[in-house]
Amino acid sequence: MNGAMNFTYGFSHGVEWGWPIAVYLLLAGISGGALIVALLVRFYKKQQVDTPLLKAASLVSFATIALGMVFLVGDLEKPLYFWKILIHYNFASVMSIGVMAISIYIPLTLVMCLYLFEKEISIVLAKKSKRVGYFEMVMRILTRFRPLVEVLSVIFAVIICAYTGFLISVLVRFPILNTAILPALFVVSGLSAGTASAGMVASWLFKEEIHSSDLKTLHTIEWPIMAVEIMLIGMLFVSLLVGNEFQQITTVAFKSGLYATLFWVGVMGVGFGLPLVLNFALGKQIAHSQMAFYLCGMASVLGVLCLRMFIIYAGQTFGI
């Protein structure tokens, strides 16, 4: 009788949550990660001035989460009805909780941008003297709350990174997704992509010297973050390998087929291998070059994108 009473037919069509969700997960990770890293550097070094790194991180975090919303809402079959989420809150749903967190987080990133680009915005508004007046008044009020906003930004950035993990780890049908490690992996990989993005933008847009103190700090913490990321992925794999029948089947995703290629070439090769080779295998001259800096950053971000794609696609392919 065992195994006889079961059905294998399903009404969904393979991967229901596709690449837009993977891209959204990446963007949310970058947004949260960049802000966490830049603000922690600020707290740790007790910085009082507005550094190019914090400028870059604020801009990156606001831009990526805003772009992420486009992907998130765009993936709905009825995108014009997304506001229904906002009026029918379901506190049992991770998605509702996430939307709530996002609706606090986006204003926080926007206020962070206002703090850091106050001068630039004033210059733009200078043509209309009335508007500058209003803007200055708003900024005078906002500036009083700056320490609070910064702390809240860090907290909500962590929540944003973690919720994207919980969002899909509650899906009991999929062994790769339904693990305790996923939210942690998403926080750490978000930090990795966020560090790289903030560093690149700081250097590119705000002319931060790539050997400056702040970027050196980022460069130093990059490796421990990467090590933890590899460790978490290893733990995920082992937990599946030693798991039940269904969990064991999913390890095929790491071993053969398109998803294995995506994992080994994209996540391991580009995400981890390329930065390591550029920094440690080809001599100091290349490691310290401008090209290596940008190449490493882009490789990190691409690697995290591949990780999210792998998790989303392989995760939903191997159901119970």
């Binding site: 079961n6 399903g10 993936d75 009825k78 029918h88 991770v94 509650v170 009991v172």
Partner: protein, 223 residues
């Protein structure tokens, strides 16, 4: 005198308190009594009786206006290739879980439990088609209706046959009486009489979602 006033006030409070608490307690008890009477609809699929004619599928699509190429109910052929003469079929449809993950994850409360019947159903107007319920369902028995663009599941014909006092379309259409529908909370219901005398199983009970569909498996013949 002063003391007397205090005593009187104390007795007043005591009296009032016992009256309020008493009525409150009574109302709690009567509410619990009402809750017990709430129906819990379930269904039995008898594998011994199903011949795989798919009349139920056809009836379901017609009654519930399910678009071409989509189904709320599917009859899967699970015949063992080694014994092709021993036909086996399984009903694939919403399991009407008591702890339904689809209801838990729906961000817009479109997927909900009907207040009167307790049946898990949809409000298509509130559905934003985020597909969260589809990926959260352990049984993979939900889909986006092509016409309404809303997620959908078998709701025992809640809005169609049931509201007209009829049995679900699949039960009505089954010539072999392989399907039995009824209120599991009603001790005298036919569905409970069957469950008392026959062994039945639930699909994937380890998910802990407490499905309301019961399956009576084909009994092994011979040794």
């Amino acid at each position: 005198m002063e003391n007397d006033g205090k005593r009187r006030a104390f007795l007043k409070v005591l009296g009032l308190g016992s009256v309020t608490l008493g009525t409150a307690g009574y109302s709690v008890v009567s509410e619990a009594g009402k809750a017990e009477k709430k129906p819990h609809y379930g269904m039995i699929f008898d594998q011994n009786k199903c011949v795989g004619c798919t009349d139920c599928e056809v009836a379901c699509r017609k009654v519930n206006d399910v678009p071409q190429g989509q189904v709320r109910l599917y009859v899967e052929n699970k015949t063992d290739p080694a014994t092709p003469m021993d036909k086996k079929y399984v009903r694939v449809s919403c399991q009407q879980c008591e702890d339904a993950p689809c209801v838990a994850v729906c961000p817009s409360k479109a997927c909900h439990r009907d207040a009167k019947t307790g049946i898990v159903t949809m409000n298509p107007d509130d559905c934003i088609a985020c597909k969260y319920c589809i990926v959260a369902c352990p049984y993979d028995v939900r889909f986006i209706n092509k016409k309404t663009k809303a997620a959908e599941n078998c709701n025992f014909c809640l809005g169609t046959n049931l509201s007209k006092g009829k049995e679900p379309a699949c039960v009505e259409s089954c010539k072999y009486k392989a399907l039995v529908f009824g209120d599991l909370n009603d001790e005298n219901a036919y569905i409970n009489q069957i469950l008392h005398v026959k062994d039945s199983v639930r699909i994937k009970p380890t998910y802990g979602t407490k499905p309301s569909l019961r399956y009576i498996p084909v009994v092994k013949v011979g040794v």
